[in-house]
Symmetry: C2
Subunit: 343 residues, 2 copies
């Protein structure tokens, strides 16, 4: 089959690789209907994360059709349509039962512990626990929206939940990537009264406004902090969604959080740590981490099926698998928000 | 009057100083009935916090009797018995109304922005908002318990609340100082099933057990982490109360927190910051900061009056104001848990 392999920073290729095989009785193999490129795929693409000597089989978001199941897979059969969350999980451990699948005692990440999803097919460990079965084959128009449930929409929702967004509160969203934009959707769903987006790209701002952002701050650093404070009566936002992971994003987040407020951070941390004093003296809560998107599918899928939320609008470029290098370039250069890939 | 002045690390004296005067119409002057030495007073005493060229008028916990009030003080009159929280607050701003008095827009700390309470009398800014009026003069036997409401018991409670202690959960308390011991009381009050104290001094351990600790870990560093994990089935505690503030205490706290669990930190931070990766990948919540002890008095006072909690047992040495230097030495050398001072 064909699969994407990241060989070195900036060097990404689609290659012929061996077809995935059932290795454990709890495995399934899915054929990929749609996959996509994630902002976090840019970390290794830019050389900021390890790649490994044999290259990295990358990608962690997919909608697929089950092709084959191991003998201990009981809830899925060939032909089932499924959502593949970025993290695999056994579905039975105490953490999965609590809804924190990303802390599963058997967890691992696609494109990390196992091969990635930017390919024609993927091997799925713990298929019963990992995959979310759709009731029926997905309508073509729904595919982009459903695909966001495997990562960005679930991650934006996690940011909003861990930032304790509540009805009537003021929310600030740091970043204007796909996760941040989904964070706006989540903040609105959770009842935020005012949603401030910190972003600078006109098309992303337009989308944020469509999703529910009420205020836009396009400055950066200290100027951005001052603007948010001005908008919020001097004290900052009750809930801040940190959707980037850089030092600047984190520093901005802690400075625009109202005393007693909360930060939900979902940007993979590429910074020195959380500053101790300002968060302590302002009694700021900090939450977040890898989102249990598997758990949030139950909450968010009905909204998508009912047309209440349209997170798939974050996809502004659609390419074939063969063209994926073009997609990485477009995202790296911020020409595209998020790129949909059809194998 | 007589007051305590810290002149340099280890150099603490009781001196004659001018009597406090009403400076603002919202001020009151209280005569100190009892005050005490706090673990956080040891930071400047040990030279780890600024003292200032003219010395520092230290202390921030007191029970007093109102002697005089400014013309804009409306809820207090001379003769009233009051609890003085470590932080003054106007009682009317949005933060005070939300119960986060330590974020009051007019806040300040006794022994910091204004003179300290280890003295015969104290000037109280925003007396109506700051002071908590007792219904009647306090019984001599209740004084130590009531005094803990001004800081350590309220702070231990804040640690437990921000660590999201809930019924049936496993709690770990890092530290065996007075705040940590009060954290044990708070964890028990909030329904913790198992309370692990990380401490090593036999008399403190005995008190922790009396307060409700079910397990004691006296190792430090990696060994302590391993012990807590062993006790908790491999995953750590749901709620961790960080009651010290050092690098070692923080690192221990983040390592013994169960994925998805929470840390309530109330030890004044004297460390580099909160590690990003472990807290992110384990979806750990971090909360805490200066405790709004003013708000918690309503919750905790009834328990003291009913004899349900006995936080005053943390006082194991009682001295006159004149003897206060002896008290600092005893706490510095960990000969005493907490020292009560009677002017």
């Amino acid at each position: 089959m064909l699969a994407t392999v990241l060989h070195a920073p900036g060097d990404i290729r689609v290659e012929k690789v061996p077809d995935p095989q059932i290795q454990m009785p709890t495995d399934a193999i899915i054929r990929v209907i749609v996959t996509c490129i994630c902002g976090s795929d840019l970390w290794p693409y830019r050389g900021l994360d390890q790649i490994g000597p044999e290259g990295r089989r990358i990608g962690h978001e997919a909608i697929g059709v089950v092709e084959e199941v191991g003998r201990d897979v009981h809830t899925l059969k060939p032909g089932d349509w499924v959502l593949m969350p970025f993290c695999f999980s056994d579905g039975t451990c105490e953490f999965c039962q609590e809804g924190l699948h990303t802390a599963c005692i058997h967890k691992g990440f696609f494109g990390g512990q196992v091969d990635g999803a930017q390919a024609e097919a993927v091997r799925i460990p713990f298929a019963d626990g990992t995959l979310y079965k759709l009731a029926e084959p997905a309508d073509e128009n729904l595919l982009p929206h459903l695909l966001t449930l495997t990562d960005v929409m679930g991650t934006g929702y996690h940011a909003a939940k861990t930032a304790r967004v509540m009805p009537g509160k003021t929310v600030a969203v740091v970043g204007d990537g796909a996760v941040a934009l989904c964070g706006v959707i989540a903040a609105k769903k959770l009842g935020a009264e005012r949603i401030i987006l910190l972003g600078r790209h006109p098309n992303r701002i337009a989308l944020a406004q469509k999703f529910g952002a009420t205020d836009i701050v396009s400055e950066r650093g200290e100027t951005a902090v001052a603007r948010v404070k001005e908008i919020t009566g001097g004290w900052g936002a009750h809930a801040v969604l940190e959707c980037v992971g850089t030092e600047l994003a984190l520093q901005t987040a802690v400075q625009i959080t109202r005393p007693g407020g909360s930060i939900g951070r979902v940007g993979v941390p590429h910074h020195q740590g959380i500053p101790a004093d300002i968060t302590f003296y302002n009694n700021i809560f900090i939450g977040g981490g890898p989102a249990p998107t598997r758990a949030y599918m139950d909450i968010l899928l009905p909204d998508i099926l009912a047309g209440k939320i349209l997170p798939g609008l974050v996809f502004d470029l659609s390419l074939s698998l063969q063209e994926i290098a073009k997609g990485y370039r477009a995202m790296d250069e911020r020409q595209a928000i998020k790129v949909l890939i059809k194998p």
